[in-house]
Amino acid sequence: MKTAPLDVPRPDAPDLTPAGRGWDRARLLGAGVLGAWAAMFWFLQLSGRLNLYLSTRTAWIVPTGAIVLSVGAVGATFAARGRERTSITRRAAVTAAILIAPIVLMAAAPPTTLGSFSSSRKEQFSGRGLWTYWGTFDENSEITFFFVAASKYWEGGANLLGQRAGDEASFVGFAERWDSTPSDEVVLTRFVVTCCVADATPISIRVVNVPPGSVKEDSWIEVTGQVYPVGNDVIVVADSIEPAPTPDLPYITP
């Protein structure tokens, strides 16, 4: 039995006599890798877990990948038939393991989102490059995380929020505490994702009037209260703070 690594061709011509024919195991292994990735992409699509990694704008990449990889896996399986019998080299086995390792990581780890650890290392979302978006806010717009970001980094947004001071609004986000956060406050944060989670930047709002010790860090909560711009900051005076499930779309996209 001859050997053939996953990505290095055998220079010798295959023996295609009936006795020599069988499955090219190296190619089967390659087809298996493509199939494993195809299955992972179908799983991400069907379970909705793709929202943990991509923005709504790039979500179409997942079904595209699932289709291309599925076709590749099926084609490579057929291409492995009726060829010279081969065994798998150690190099091919290690390469396949490296290619499958991310699938194992994603499948084994409990579904999770970015949280306070990541937020503490990132600068706040400034909407640089998204200035045209800010122009869509007016005095009747719903007060959202983006509205809050607009008020922090755009004079027009600050004026608009100033006119709405004291209006009631609801926000869903995860709770975090900064070094400067008093015991009766939490910081409510939501990440903005443009393409994938790697480009996530946080938008944070100070929530005051919080019973000390009532909110656990990194837990998802819904805060309802009055919104006030204070200097270059925005605070919400909480009327109610309720635990909330992780949203289907944990990241927001402009």
């Binding site: 061709p9 295959p14 493509l34 306070s116 443009t194 393409c195 790697a198």
Partner: protein, 339 residues
């Protein structure tokens, strides 16, 4: 010596014990992810989410790139590309630079192809220009760059700039190296750098060759994507944004840093835009990101090994130096022009 011994060991047939060890390693990885990944360690949770998102967004483009490159390798006759050599001299470099639109091959497939083109009489300048430009100026790469930068206000700058800079720098290198004869540029014919892309001698159907080629290409490129995503996720998990921003505000350093990063990460051109775009939050400007997107597909660690097996050392040195100087020069000019 150690590398050679490792290579010999790896090329042995994998017995049942070895395969069981590999499976056990994967199982241990899964167990560690399961026990540590559920928010118990913030850094691990962050790293895993970022790493996974980079892989998920880029891998379909690697698969599409493998399909496109395999179509070219199996179904397009060499004579179609060789026509570049029959064009008037003044047109050869510009046409070679944009030929990647019609022949979308990846960087690791373009090196052996350029060698074969030179051996079959295509002028070296045109062959080298094609080799460097095709992985940048190709529809799959343009699409992935568009997707990665969509909604950031710099989409057209990045897609158009990448194509234009890629073509210009490839022509500059082709012009510098094109004055020499092929035998002065190439190593002996037994280079042995052609991996699974090039298995033309097998007596099997075209579709069989095509799918075999897709598997080989995918495996070859995806492992570099995984390595690049590991590094990029580590940087984004542990380095505070403010610290990297300090580097990103230094005019020349930011470009050199991104070029160096591209060379180290060795990403394939179909997936590198997602990594580059993730650095925009640190304040790296469009010119530094373009330098990353253009220099990486021309000079990186995996290509270094392939260049070393294909070209003479002096040719590799001249290629790397010219590509680096041209990328830096044009990126600096762009920085002055567009910021």
């Amino acid at each position: 010596m150690v590398t050679q011994r490792t290579a010999i060991v790896l090329d042995r047939s994998a017995n049942g014990r070895f395969l069981a060890g590999v499976v056990a390693g994967l199982a241990a990885l899964g167990y560690a992810a399961w026990t540590l990944g559920g928010g118990r360690a913030g850094w691990l949770q962050t790293w895993m989410v970022i790493f996974s998102s980079l892989i998920i967004s880029a891998l379909p483009f690697v698969a599409l790139g493998a399909v496109a490159a395999s179509l070219v390798a199996v179904f397009v006759p060499m004579s179609a590309i060789e026509r570049i050599g029959r064009l008037p001299r003044a047109l050869q470099l510009p046409v070679a630079a944009v030929a990647g639109v019609g022949f979308p091959i990846c960087e690791c497939g373009s090196v052996p192809l350029a060698r074969r083109l030179m051996l079959r009489g295509v002028p070296p300048g045109a062959a080298i220009t094609f080799m460097l430009a095709a992985p940048v100026v190709n529809p799959v790469v343009m699409a992935s760059t568009y997707v990665a930068y969509r909604g950031r206000g710099s989409t057209l700058t990045m897609v158009g700039g990448r194509v234009l800079l890629g073509a210009l720098i490839a022509m500059a290198v082709g012009w510098v190296l094109g004055r020499k004869a092929p035998e002065d540029l190439l190593r002996g014919t037994g280079g042995g750098t052609e991996h699974a892309h090039v298995d033309f001698e097998r007596p099997e159907s075209r579709w069989g060759r095509f799918f075999g080629h897709v598997v080989g290409d995918f495996a070859f490129m995806a492992k570099y994507l995984i390595a690049g995503a590991v590094v990029a996720a580590i940087v984004q998990t542990f380095l505070p944004q403010r610290m990297v921003q300090g580097l990103a505000t230094l005019p020349v350093i930011e470009i050199v840093a991104m070029m160096g990063l591209a060379a180290i990460l060795s990403l394939c051109s179909e997936s590198d835009a997602f990594i580059a775009a993730s650095f925009s939050q640190y304040g790296f400007g469009p010119s530094a990101q373009l330098a990353f997107l253009v220099f990486g597909p021309m000079v990186d660690m995996k290509l270094g090994a392939m260049y070393g097996g294909t070209f003479k050392p002096a040719t590799v040195g001249a290629l790397v130096a010219t590509a680096a100087v041209a990328t830096l020069g044009i990126s600096l000019w762009l920085e002055v022009a567009i910021g």
